[in-house]
């Protein structure tokens, strides 16, 4: 049995769905950040897999993967800063308590 592109893509899709579930269904803000990291990882797997199977002699997918990693680092830094700021005000990281968007 040969591992094809589909295997990698399905694996990435599953990882993405797990991350999405974490982002949408967890109460803790930090869990949500972790979910987002999982989703970003799934994206990078896709990029690299496409690169490997469809244009192996170019490394454009890798370059994009590095960019995404940089974005993820920036995202998690700002995200954690936001969580900490909110935590100072509410003494809570429970996303159910953040309901300022209400009417």
């Amino acid at each position: 049995m040969i591992i094809t592109l589909n295997h990698y893509l399905l694996l990435a899709a599953m990882l993405f769905c797990i991350g999405l579930y974490a982002a949408l269904a967890k109460k803790n803000a930090i869990s949500i950040l972790m979910g987002i990291e999982l989703m970003l990882n799934a994206c990078i797997i896709n990029l690299v897999a496409f690169n490997r199977f469809m244009a192996p002699d170019m490394v454009v997918g890798h370059v994009f993967g590095i960019f995404v990693i940089a974005l993820a680092a920036a995202e998690v830094a700002v995200g954690l800063a936001l969580v900490l700021t909110v935590y100072r005000d509410l003494l809570s990281v429970n996303i159910d308590d953040f309901n300022w968007l209400k009417w």
Binding site: I3, I30, L33, V76
Partner: protein, 167 residues
């Protein structure tokens, strides 16, 4: 069945199993550690995909920086005990169904699409190629990412410390 196939299945099992554990673990610290494990697994996948440089970067940044940041975040926000710190919301079933449907859609799309696969071999080492691309063709995105990181760092500092007007 070749070795790489076996390795892929093992790594896939590790990645998915640890990712599910990230979601299901009741203790947030455990979840963070499972996430680190996921990152390692993904790094292994990169090795299988012959992306050696990216695998190293994955470990360096994700495991070395982001995971540590997350753990710091956990440490700074959890005052009481760590039990029951990673619970799901009341709408988890709805989310679960939604995510399942999405997964089915992905699977359908992926399997239905006739991918045009190339049979070229991957280059021996990717580092040199990546560096060349980054400083030639992708120099502007590269610079922009640098600025983005700078802004993100400044933003994180200002958000946590608060901005103060100069005298």
């Amino acid at each position: 069945m070749s070795v790489s196939t076996i390795v892929f299945w093992i790594i896939a099992a590790v990645v998915l199993g640890s990712a599910i554990s990230v979601v299901t673990a009741q203790n947030l610290v455990h979840a963070a550690l499972f996430m680190v494990l996921t990152f390692f697994g993904v790094s292994g996948l990169y090795v299988l995909l012959e992306a050696d440089f990216l695998a190293v970067v994955q470990i360096l940044i994700y495991v070395g920086a982001i995971a540590v940041l997350i753990v710091f975040g956990v440490m700074l926000t959890q005052r009481k005990g760590m039990e029951e710190t990673n619970v799901s919301s009341s709408h988890k079933w709805v989310t679960g169904i939604l995510v399942t449907i999405l997964m089915v859609g992905f699977a359908y799309a992926v399997t239905r699409t006739p991918w045009q696969v190339s049979d070229h071999a991957a280059p021996e080492s990717t580092v040199g190629l990546i560096g060349e691309l980054m400083l030639t063709r992708f120099v502007i995105p590269f610079e922009i990412v640098g600025i983005l990181l700078l802004v993100a760092v400044l933003g994180a500092i200002i958000l946590t410390k608060g901005a103060r007007r100069l005298p």
